[in-house]
């Protein structure tokens, strides 16, 4: 894994994640982050403010939370949904670089449950939605040894490259 843990996202796409969290409140929302891995470039390819962004989110693929037993505090998307998200990414010349979900009435920090169901490399964006109002948005990557997450910096991008 790159040591530079940064993910670029436009204000427009960040707002869409928050809106999705508002729509599904008090249940969790979830979706795929479609984008490009940029490695540790000098930022020449990047629309992000500042150099060194390791990846950029260019598009979102909202998904349906399949958990109907406890949708307030769990989200689940099936392998078929994942395949569909990967297909949507390929159609746009992108790849699935991570996932987003909301934490209704809880902080935007990953839970033990999140850790048990994560893979490294993916960016996991969490938005806290408190009494229906979006609060903090954070992004995380699972450590190689699965003992916890490392927070990655969310870099605001000037423009959304693809919609």
């Amino acid at each position: 894994m790159s040591e530079v843990l940064e993910v670029g996202i436009s204000a427009e796409l960040a707002a869409k994640i928050r809106e999705h969290g508002i729509e599904t409140y008090p249940y969790e929302c979830c979706g795929a982050l479609l984008g490009k891995e940029l490695g540790t470039t000098d930022g020449a390819e990047s629309e992000a403010i500042g150099a060194g962004s390791s990846r950029e989110i260019r598009s979102l693929h909202p998904l349906v939370n399949r958990r109907d037993d406890s949708p307030r505090n769990r989200f689940s998307v099936t392998a078929e949904d994942v395949r569909e998200a990967e297909k949507a990414a390929r159609a746009q010349g992108l790849e699935v670089i991570g996932w987003y979900h909301s934490h209704p009435d809880h902080p935007a920090r990953p839970s033990d449950y999140d850790r048990d169901h994560a893979w490294p490399w993916y960016s996991y964006i969490i938005v806290s939605v408190h009494t229906g109002v979006p609060q903090d948005m954070t992004s995380w990557r699972l450590k190689d040894d699965r003992t916890g997450f490392l927070e990655e910096k969310i870099l605001p991008m000037k423009v959304s490259v693809a919609r």
């Binding site: 902080p107 449950y113 999140d114 490399w121 996991y124």
Partner: protein, 97 residues
């Protein structure tokens, strides 16, 4: 018998950045065992500490979920492709990490 295992993007970093690897295997379990023997760092992201496939890790033989076949004992034949697809899950717990 040669079976191709497709390595998902997030795990390629533990497999020399390869997108796939081929193994001689008579069952899906043998192919996955070949994969995790050759690339030991992959193992903990596919299996729990007690050696069971993680609940969110789905394995397909060609396009069939092995849960509906004979799980890891599902026989393979020459030219088969195994795919590893995660189900994405998460959510709030009392204990943040």
């Amino acid at each position: 018998m040669s079976v191709k295992v497709m390595i998902p993007t997030p795990l390629r970093v533990y497999a020399g950045k390869r997108a796939s690897a081929e193994f001689s295997a008579a069952t899906v379990g043998e192919a996955l065992s070949g994969l995790t023997s050759q690339f030991a760092e992959l193992r903990k992201h596919l299996y729990t500490e007690d050696g069971k496939l993680r609940a969110f890790v789905n394995v397909y033989l060609n396009d069939e979920d092995i849960r509906y076949l004979s799980q890891e004992g599902t026989p393979t034949k020459d030219g088969d492709t195994i795919s590893i697809i995660p189900s994405i899950a998460g959510g709030v717990c009392e204990n943040a990490v």
